[in-house]
Amino acid sequence: MNEDRLDQLFSLFYQQKASAKEIDELFRMMEGVPDAVLEALAQKHFEASKEQEPLFPAHFRQRIYEKIKVGGKITERKNLSLPRTLRRMAPIGWAAAAIAAGAVGAWLYLRMHQPEGSKRLATIAMEHQRYLLDTTGVQMHGTADTMGAALSGSVIKVAELLRTESSGYSTITVPYGKRSELLLPDSSKVWLNAGSQLTFPNRFTADKNEVFLVGEGYFEVTKRKSAPFYVRTADMNIRVMGTSFNVRAYPDDGYTSAVLLSGRIEIEPAERVNFQNIAIEPGTSAMLNRREGKLAIQQVTAEDEISWTRRQLILKNTKLSEILTRLSRIYNAEIIDEVGRESGVTFSGKLDLSMPLTEVLKTIYDSNGNYKITRKEGRYMIVN
């Protein structure tokens, strides 16, 4: 056994940079390697990479802890008090607008065939997924591998980044903690929220424009006469003729949603998902519950849904757990409040996202009361 080569291959694998050939070689070599050697290698690389940015996503914490609670049968909660009083947030003017959920004037129709073409785009998008975890700035990844440069500036003009002759697809990645605004070649605008990725063709053609979204984006699509514009996600496709709408499709949420602000969009199921196509009207949202595979249409204050594009978060009876998840993405920080997340407490009000996270949390948690917000190693803990 060649120890240097083993070390080299292991190192590539550990950094998740090994090619198929290298993985093949490593797996073959491992057969003759004793456990103790592998364990030592693992330890060596663990210690060497301690200072590196973790590849493991921060917001998985909740999922793991939930499973531990079930697996470890943790039920003792005697020393915790529920529910807790929470500070009232600044009242908002249009608070009267009720968010009565229910079916509204949407109309249903069936189409004979599925829109094709989402696969190729989905594939490209999938290959770039890992960048979400290990990029720190807004990045563009293209098939014409020249586009690795970090992007800056307030509005990213996609047309300027694309080479005129290139075919294929490119992906823009906005890591956790960042936000970005794009101008597509057809002059449609897209705001991408933290932890999101948009994959699009290098060449926008008159008859077919489609993009693939992971995460959250607000789209203002220019009006078109002939072919529709498609926003595709893993489980929902949105057919657009020129409108503005918000799409939220984070892989670690339990739902995918589209909210229409103006114009008209049609919601279609992606491959392997089953629901009826539906067109929604402005001021409504279509939310797909991924576990149940059911689509629910609700009336919402659509402006609130895109408040994040103005660095605000407008909430109406929003669950604390949802708020903390969204803040974690926006600030790329872990926020730990076991009790609060489970309490089912909801909030209404406005959060200013241009403030530091501690301040935002202070708006939610009454710091004069029983709460203490402590910050330790990039984690925010709420203690009462």
């Binding site: 592998l38 330890q43 690389h45 973790p54 921060a58 802890y65 470890g72 999938m126």
Partner: protein, 212 residues
């Protein structure tokens, strides 16, 4: 040079700080809040380590979860542990290495299987840019399965254990095994299909492998 993997040397064996000792004492007494503090302090570093070591998010989650469940279940014995971070690390490392080994073993099985089922001519007729690439993609598809599905899939397809035996081994019904297999097959197929362009053409072998 590679060491022996022994972790109990040097300063690592230092006495636990009194703060850590108090925390462990509270956990031993069943204080969930203390447990959640311990979890928050350690889980990310551990999960990141296992994720890198296994290249599987599913497994990183599973292993970290298992380790902390073990800590909670054995909490009364926490007083005997010298240094909790080393203890947690070793549990994760050993599980991670054994999973990596299983991956390597199953990968070789997959290859051997392809080579016995398919003639050289058939293997060549597919013009894969790299033959390894096909095997690696299939193997990665298996790694991306949820842990229980993955366990069942590996047993059934790569270790050739019968459904009835798997059911007995995992203490679940044969019906559940069947259900998991169905879901697993669908996901693997989908994963490979999405990488079709990498391997040019997904050959019969693959279908063969999934159907039998």
């Amino acid at each position: 040079m590679l060491g022996s993997g022994n972790i109990t040397g040097g300063d690592l064996a230092a006495q636990p700080s009194s703060e850590e000792h108090r925390l462990l004492k509270r956990i031993a007494d069943g204080d969930e809040r203390a447990f959640s503090q311990l979890f928050d302090h350690h889980y990310r570093g551990l999960a990141d380590f296992v994720f890198r070591l296994t290249d599987s998010l599913e497994m990183a989650e599973e292993i970290v979860q298992e380790v902390f469940v073990k800590v909670w279940e054995d909490r009364r014995a926490l007083g005997k542990i010298k240094k909790i971070s080393d203890y947690l690390f070793i549990l994760c490392r050993n599980r991670g290495v054994s999973y990596l080994r299983q991956r390597a073993r199953d990968y070789l099985r997959l290859q051997a299987y392809a080579q016995t089922e398919l003639s050289e001519a058939e293997l060549d007729s597919h013009q894969w840019s790299d033959r390894e690439q096909l095997y690696v993609v299939i193997e990665k598809a298996i790694c991306a399965l949820p842990s229980q599905q993955q366990k069942i899939f590996r047993l059934a397809k790569l270790s050739r254990v019968s459904h009835a035996e798997i059911a007995a081994q995992l203490n679940i019904s044969a019906e559940t095994v069947k259900k998991h297999m169905k879901l697993a097959l669908r996901s693997v197929r989908e994963f490979v299909k999405q990488h079709e362009h990498i391997v040019n053409s997904v050959p019969f072998f693959f279908l063969y492998f999934l159907i039998r």
